[in-house]
């Protein structure tokens, strides 16, 4: 067909073949990877771990973010927290499906993002809905940060979890995917622990800290509890841009700054297969 002359060899296969063809999928691997915002840092502010604590925890975190505005560009995503737990409990009790729980949970992450926005508005920090992400580079360039709610915009289209009824892809996943699609410099999760432990340190005093671990090793350990949504670990294995994610304690001033500066605070989870790549 003469109309296909402008297409690449891969393009000719794409317009005529089946997208489920494994050979075609493998062929798309050999295309370049553009990092859209390579200087942006995605920082996730925990819901239950930070926002629900109110001023005592949020105040110092906001101060630290503001102090970093001149040096680091930050996409700030928020978690949901205790109100999400309440609404998930209620919705499960009412027999509502996972997609509806995602819509409900998104509203809680949105509330937290709005509150963070009110606290940072005087520094010129805007809040963006997913539909407004095309403006994100401008705000980052002009003001150094933007705020968004952390949930991915899957709404009713969230898939079921393997077990149970809680939406498997929540705010950790949403923030990670923002970092991945933009090819961000860093993905930092701000929570209320020093990172990853061998068990939940809130419940098990014998739990020991893990400063650095590969995602492959972590998945193999098959821990009952984790510092991050399992979906993030599974997506890390497929990610092309993000080779590591970092967890810091937002209750300890300075940890976020250290992580932004590239220091190994908290816990780093890295993809062993991407080390040395790119």
């Amino acid at each position: 067909m003469t109309g296909n002359e402008m297409l690449t060899e891969l393009g000719k296969r794409l317009v005529s073949g089946s997208l489920s063809d494994m050979a075609l999928q493998r062929a798309t691997d050999a295309t370049p990877n553009v990092a859209i915002l390579p200087w942006a840092n995605v920082v996730k502010i925990g819901g239950q771990s930070i926002m629900d604590r109110g001023r005592a925890a949020v105040g110092p975190v906001v101060d630290e973010i503001v102090a970093n505005l001149p040096r680091h560009k930050m996409i700030l995503g928020t978690g949901a927290g205790t109100r999400a737990r309440h609404v998930y409990s209620l919705a499960i009790d009412l027999g509502l499906p996972v997609g509806v729980l995602t819509v409900l949970g998104t509203a809680v992450a949105w509330q937290n993002a709005q509150m963070l926005h009110y606290l940072m508005a005087k520094h010129g920090i805007a809040f963006l809905e997913p539909e407004g992400f095309a403006s994100l580079p401008h705000y980052l360039m002009e003001r150094g940060a933007v705020i968004c709610q952390g949930m991915p915009p899957y709404k009713l289209w969230e898939g079921n979890p393997l077990v149970g009824r809680i939406p498997p892809q929540r705010t950790d996943t949403g923030c990670f995917l923002i970092a991945e699609v933009f090819g961000a410099r860093k993905m930092i999760f701000v929570k209320d622990e020093d990172g990853l432990f061998t068990a939940d340190p809130k419940k098990d005093k014998g739990a020991t800290h893990i400063p650095r671990i590969s995602v492959q090793d972590l998945l193999q350990r098959d821990l009952d509890d984790l510092v991050v949504e399992r979906a993030v670990l599974e997506l890390m294995l497929r990610a092309r841009n993000i080779s590591e994610i970092q967890f810091v304690n937002g209750l300890k001033p300075g940890q976020l700054t250290a992580a932004l500066d590239g220091e190994p605070v908290g816990t780093v989870i890295y993809n062993a297969q991407m080390v040395g790549r790119a």
């Binding site: 075609l24 925890a57 205790t82 309440h86 509806v100 340190p201």
Partner: protein
């Protein structure tokens, strides 16, 4: 543990203070799910397989949808077709990531869905974007006589990187399936240009046999090189709470849609 760590202001609930990542907590949330719209039938019109063929393929199918309007509540998802393939080609050549490709491809299926809604407009069908599916679908179905939506789910920049390559894994089959699952639809029917799933690619294997019924797990285990349905849909079916089967039928054969709506064994039934 420092003082502030106990300072969270909680709302009392069964999940209060719990880690939502904890396996036991997750397992404890298992409970029955209610079907929100149990009379709904989700019909997916393929992009490359139906839409791109133009009126000769599409109009008889739309006539059949209209014929079934009295008897069945139908919402119609539409796939993107060749324009999405083209923008995938250009986007991949430019080095764009999967999330950007998904956002771009979703516009092609939105165009197709909009065209279908125009052709069904005088029969009372409305076109609903994702936010309106969330807020208005039940009201629209009470007032209108059917709805058309963009088959590609609104994952946009948040689309998953696939296990292999860069093609967005959640296309219009996945989006239509997930609409059926979340509303607890009566049936999910994918209209394609093949009679169903074969045990080998019928285009290259003339002796390939049609599979009339198979479980999603068994079909995945066959590791076929090509499928007439997005592989991610098979994964989703294995985790189904409500929509435990889909039917793939040839939309180019008159009467197939009506037979599928009536629950007759046409095409391929894939079940949980």
């Amino acid at each position: 543990m420092n003082d502030v760590s106990q300072g969270a202001q909680h709302v009392i609930s069964r999940l209060m203070r719990e880690s939502l990542v904890d396996k036991q907590v997750i397992a404890g949330t298992e409970a029955p799910v209610r079907a929100i719209l149990p009379n709904l039938n989700v019909i997916q019109i393929g992009g490359l397989s139906i839409m791109d063929r133009g009126h000769t393929a599409l109009l008889p199918l739309l006539d059949e949808i209209v014929q079934n309007q009295e008897k069945y509540t139908q919402v119609v998802g539409v796939g993107p077709g060749v324009r999405a393939r083209h923008i995938l080609s250009v986007g991949l050549d430019l080095g764009l990531p999967t999330g950007a490709l998904a956002t771009l491809a979703a516009k092609s299926s939105a165009q197709n869905a909009y065209m279908v809604s125009c052709l069904l407009a005088n029969h009372g069908f409305v076109y609903l974007e994702a936010p309106f599916i969330v807020q208005l679908l039940p009201a629209m179905l009470a007032a209108a006589r059917g709805a058309v939506f963009n088959g590609i789910p609104p994952y946009d920049l948040w689309e998953h990187p696939p296990a292999v390559g860069k093609i967005p894994p959640h296309g219009s089959d996945a989006g239509s399936y997930l609409v059926g699952e979340v509303f607890g639809a009566r049936s999910i029917i994918l209209l394609k240009d093949v009679d169903g799933v074969y045990d080998a690619d019928p285009k290259s294997h003339p002796g390939a046999k049609l599979i009339s019924e198979i479980s999603a797990a068994d079909l995945l285990a066959m590791k076929l090189e090509t499928l007439p349905v997005e592989p991610v849909v098979l994964d989703l079916i294995t985790r189904a709470k409500l929509a435990k089967q889909i039917r793939i039928v040839n939309g180019l054969v008159p009467g197939n849609l009506s037979r599928a709506l009536a629950g007759e064994p046409v095409g391929t039934l894939i079940h949980a």
